[in-house]
């Protein structure tokens, strides 16, 4: 008994260490930012433009990720085909890619001198230094977070449920929409929250691919970096705002999925 208590103590120390290490920088952001400073931070047009642009581009990126990623993840989770492991690994690759490498890769692929640059130009599509380029960068770095979660969520849907639905004569599309998606909903929402959080914090790929210009491509992380040197207090205030937005986002998803699970249990 005493031995397991010792282990418990060690584990507790580890947990405290983890908590202190992970929360200290965030505590420092708020310790150095008075509520008045937070409001002042929002009063600045550069900050407001950055915040609005961040919300706009991340929401659009998330929409693209969910609309295209959901059926793709469903296919990966429910079908076995040769090379499936390779496909899964390829999809996860952006997770381990440094953002700078992602930016370079996007430039080399979709930039004016890139592989598809000429074709995009002919089609009249401009991405580099445009808001659309920010969305492209966000989708690239954030989609693996959603795809991974969605795939495991679909994988965990009991096949008996799916089979029952099919036996009752519901088509594959109907089953996907009315059985698989509702059952996988908590996992899908968690994946979407992670992807959104990653997109909100995106810095390197955006800077390299889309540049930095107020109201067009300067998202909150870029505005924070731009302020860092001249206005440390302003950079802290903007960081605090980003932390608040991300916190509310993660928490609301936790609450929604929690309630969803409870509701499903009650039914």
């Amino acid at each position: 008994m005493r031995r397991s208590r010792a282990f418990g103590a060690v584990a507790l120390v580890a947990l405290v260490a983890v908590l202190v290490f992970l929360t200290l920088p965030i505590v420092a952001i708020f310790a150095n930012t008075s509520p008045g400073h937070l409001i002042d931070g929002l009063d600045d047009p550069v900050a407001r433009d950055a915040l609005w642009l961040s919300l706009k581009t991340t929401a659009l990126a998330l929409l693209i990720i969910v609309v295209i990623g959901t059926p793709a993840a469903y296919l990966l989770a429910t079908r076995d085909f040769p090379g499936r492991a390779v496909v899964q690994t390829l999809i996860e690759l952006p997770l381990v890619l440094p953002p700078a490498a992602a930016g370079i890769g996007l430039l080399a692929a979709l930039g004016p001198n890139g592989i598809l640059g000429g074709a995009l130009d002919d089609a009249g599509i401009q991405l580099v230094l445009q808001t659309a380029g920010v969305v492209v960068a966000l989708v690239f770095v954030a989609s693996p977070f959603y795809l991974r979660q969605a795939e495991s969520a679909f994988g965990a849907v009991p096949s008996s449920l799916v089979e029952a639905s099919r036996t009752l004569g519901v088509g594959e599309v109907g089953t996907f929409l009315r059985v698989s998606i509702p059952s996988a909903r908590p996992g899908l929402l968690a994946g979407a929250a992670l992807a959104w959080g990653r997109a909100l914090g995106e810095f390197g790929a955006t800077l390299m691919f889309a540049g930095s210009f107020q109201g067009i491509t300067q998202t909150v992380p870029l505005a924070i970096y731009d302020r860092f040197s001249q206005d440390f207090a302003g950079a802290l205030a903007l960081s605090a705002i980003l932390v608040c937005v991300s916190f509310v986002l993660l928490l609301s998803v936790k609450l929604v999925t929690g309630r969803g699970a409870l509701g499903a249990a009650a039914r």
Binding site: S4, A6, V10, N113, L207, S229
Partner: protein, 255 residues
């Protein structure tokens, strides 16, 4: 099983403890000379360091303003070399560095991709549809650019500023956007054009715009190697540092 886990966890803790303990072990006077320097000095300083006989040098290259902000936050390199004189002067007035010295000059130019002939003069940059990258006003390259463009007549300056598509946080960003064809023109130092190995061409700006910039360097107060820092700086004024600076395209300090 539980006991084995306990032992493992304890071993992990002890190892972690040792790791952090040995970090601050070495004596204060040993270890490399730490130099925080503006990104634009990278090539010249790296060349200088390989020939410098004063021991190991470790560099931290970044935007001057970023390095100055680090020093304000308590980071203590031995030497701070800035792409302007304003930042070292400011740090000196706050008693964070010793008296700064001007050690080199650089020149703002209009840079264009070598492969492109869309822009051949400063007037071309005023045409609608020309895409321009400049440094953010928060970094020296950006404030120099704004200062130089500020000496143009208002109408010409407004046309150029209307073509700006990106305000980059350092010179590397501007050069990258130029070499990737994302923009048609950018304002950088002449040394950045030289360092791009033929990918960029420089278009000189008129003398009336006063495109020259002075670089300042200072020993950081509380530096671990103040003597080596002073030797490093004097080599920049006369010696290997001066030669490396001139080879990279820098000019002697403006008088």
């Amino acid at each position: 099983m539980t006991r084995r886990l306990t032992v493992l966890a304890l071993v992990a803790l002890v190892v972690a403890g040792c790791g952090s303990g040995s970090d601050d072990d070495p004596g204060d006077s040993s270890g490399p000379l730490v130099v925080s320097a503006a990104s634009s000095l990278q090539k010249a300083f790296t060349d200088y360091a390989t020939r410098w006989g004063g021991g190991n040098v470790r560099f931290s290259f970044a935007g001057s303003d970023e390095l100055a902000a680090q020093i304000q936050q308590g980071v203590k390199p031995d030497v701070f070399a800035s792409a302007n004189t304003k930042l070292p002067d400011e740090l000196h007035s706050k008693d964070l560095v010793e008296k700064p010295t001007v050690f080199a000059g650089n020149r703002l130019v209009l840079a264009v991709p070598a492969k492109s002939d869309k822009v051949g003069s400063l007037e071309d940059v005023e045409r609608p549809g020309v895409r321009v990258a400049i440094g953010s006003e928060t970094v020296p390259i950006g404030s120099y650019t704004l200062g130089v463009l500020g000496r143009l007549p208002q109408a010409e300056r407004a046309k150029i500023m209307a073509n700006v598509r990106s305000k980059e946080p350092d010179v590397k960003g501007i050069v990258g956007k130029l070499t990737q064809g994302a923009v048609d023109a950018g304002f950088v130092y002449i040394t950045d054009v030289k360092a791009a190995n033929g990918a960029l061409e420089a278009i000189e700006l008129p003398e009336s715009l006063k495109p020259s910039a002075a670089y300042g360097v200072a020993v950081v107060k509380g530096a671990k190697h103040p003597d080596a820092a002073r030797r490093f700086i004097s080599g920049l004024i006369r010696g290997g540092g001066r030669r490396a600076l001139l080879a990279a395209g820098f000019e002697p300090p403006p008088q």
